[in-house]
């Protein structure tokens, strides 16, 4: 009796020490990642809140922790900045432009991605190669493709788009497309669609290939047309993936800096919040104001996610 209880305790102890040593090993394994991610992402993120309430510029960058407290001044400056707030229909301001830009780009990415996925879902010779080529815009470095497009849209008559439009008689004189207010924002949206549709395509294609063929066969027996099959079988099957793509791309586009900076530098009605943050911080070296802009952007994003989670996700859960 006594021996069995001691041996059980021994076994328990052994199990306990095994679990403890496993936990210790786990912590050692994950420690470097945690240090890097917490030290270089989470801590700076909190520090950014601090900066947004202080006056930080080039003069005191080397002594940030003693920067003077300015309360909500930075936020006030940003909200009253003509580059931030909505002025008129000709001059949207970065806040409105960011929303329009990210929502429209995401919708275009989704639609073109769906079209491409439907094309590649058919069986034809060379489909594998075609899928590889369709992914080129997504994997190529953003700097190179942005500069190629800038050159295709070159304002001189020798620019490819200018040359084509003039030859077709659609345009009399060469135009600076990316430097035309009203047009430039559409061009950066189209660039986004061109560059990121492969991401949507790939996710949709994976889902399309998982749809049960029997559903289509049954519909054919019932005499459904191709369009009806698409509407009543394909689309409902794709609904959740499309929701996921929409959310992911919207977040990423909302936070994206490179594409617009490289295409227009944020000029001609294409200024978005990340570019504005950059201009405040590294153009006029007002890091407090820049941080405040970035914080406004982050809060907007979190609010959107909270609303999305409480409405859309709850609906789809029911």
């Amino acid at each position: 009796m006594a021996t069995s209880s001691t041996s059980r305790r021994k076994l328990l102890n052994f199990k306990h020490s095994l679990a403890a040593s496993e936990a210790r090993l786990a912590w050692w394994l994950i420690l470097p990642t945690v240090l890097i991610v917490f030290g270089l992402v989470l801590f700076p993120a909190f520090f950014s809140i601090w900066i947004s309430f202080h006056d930080v510029g080039l003069k005191n960058l080397n002594d940030v922790f003693h920067a003077p407290w300015v309360g909500l001044d930075n936020y006030r400056l940003v909200f009253n900045d003509f580059a931030f707030k909505f002025e008129s229909l000709q001059n949207w301001g970065a806040a409105v432009t960011t929303v329009v830009y990210s929502v429209l780009s995401t919708i275009f990415v989704l639609l073109i991605g769906l079209l491409a996925a439907l094309l590649l879902n058919r069986k034809f010779i060379g489909r594998g190669i075609a899928r590889g080529i369709f992914l080129f815009p997504y994997i190529a470095p953003v700097v190179s493709v942005a500069f190629v497009w800038r050159w295709l849209l070159d304002p001189r008559p020798s620019g490819v788009l200018n040359h084509i439009l003039i030859s077709l008689g659609l345009l009399e004189n060469a135009r600076a497309f990316l430097a035309t207010r009203g047009l430039a924002i559409w061009l950066v949206i189209l660039f986004q669609a061109w560059r990121y549709f492969p991401f949507a395509m790939l996710m949709l294609l994976a889902r399309l290939q998982a749809i049960d063929e029997a559903l289509y066969e049954a519909a054919s027996v019932d005499g459904a047309s191709i369009w009806q099959k698409f509407l009543f079988i394909t689309l409902p099957e794709l609904r959740y993936v499309m929701g996921a793509i929409f959310l992911l791309r919207l977040l990423w586009t909302f936070n994206k800096f490179d594409d617009i900076w490289l295409l227009t530098g944020g000029g001609y009605g294409t200024n978005v919040l990340p570019v504005l943050t950059f201009q405040f911080s590294f153009g006029s070296f007002d890091f407090g104001k820049g941080s405040a802009t970035a914080m406004i952007q982050l809060v907007a994003l979190i609010l959107f996610l909270a609303i999305y989670a409480s409405t859309v996700m709850r609906q789809s859960g029911e």
Binding site: V64, G132, V148, D154, L202, L298
Partner: protein, 302 residues
Amino acid sequence: MAERTLVKRSFLDQLALHLSWNRLLFALGFFIFIAMILFPFYWMVSSSFKSGAEIAGRAPVYFPSSLQLDAYRELFDPASPHFQNFSKNILNSILISVPTALLAVILSTMGSYAIARLTFKGRGFMLNSILIVYLFPGILLIIPLFALLSQLGNSLGFQVQDNLNVLMLTYLAQTLPVALYMLTNYFHTIPVEIEEAALIDGCSRLQVIWRVTLPLAIPALVTVGIYTFMIAWNEFLYAFVFLNDRSMFTMPIKLNTIFNDPSPRPNVVMAASTIMTLPVIVLFLAFERFLTQGLTAGGVKG
């Protein structure tokens, strides 16, 4: 005679069958997609082989008459009047993306194994807070990072600007969460029983990881390595802020500098773009099957 028309008719029928509206529409759509995707790439490569005169002409040259190496000479030939010393920039890019990829693979393998296989307190919290990184805009982090690292550099006596190691550290912070997420998913697909069998046979945990799990995870490790390499290779914003000295520039920043030169030379920009894009495309095509799986599984931020 009658026989002949019959044959002809059936051939036409076959042709009509072959060219149904459906197929025509498909072919048309496919052609438009391929043209829209490939034309910019064709333009990039072909323009890099044009001479200065062809670039500055009144009409665009769609088919260069001969392969002119002017642009490449400017990038690599010290005798060229606008010599860019581009090989230094290529070297910088390699020096930063290869270590980033290797370190990301090693560190994320360790971390994701712990999350996928070992039980410890705070595991869920850890994974969630690492995934939150998806939310933060890069531009939000760059200001505090810049301030923080300048402060740190001042007191510890290292340069923050033009320091490739500092830049590499920020790339690691950006890529580790994605790598961790992808590898954790992959480790979940490896049956636990295999590892348990090895444990019962008397292997220690570390031996199991080294001898059993890692060999099984090689496709995922390759995928993560190539992704992190591509992210570091293509990165623009952080390099733009952290690098000032021309000799320290990575390729994207150098490209930006050449593009914004007061006397525009698009053929040189396109030559540099071609050099930067080629390795990415080749790597992608070589490992396409792994990479597309990884893309759908991990949703690489970009």
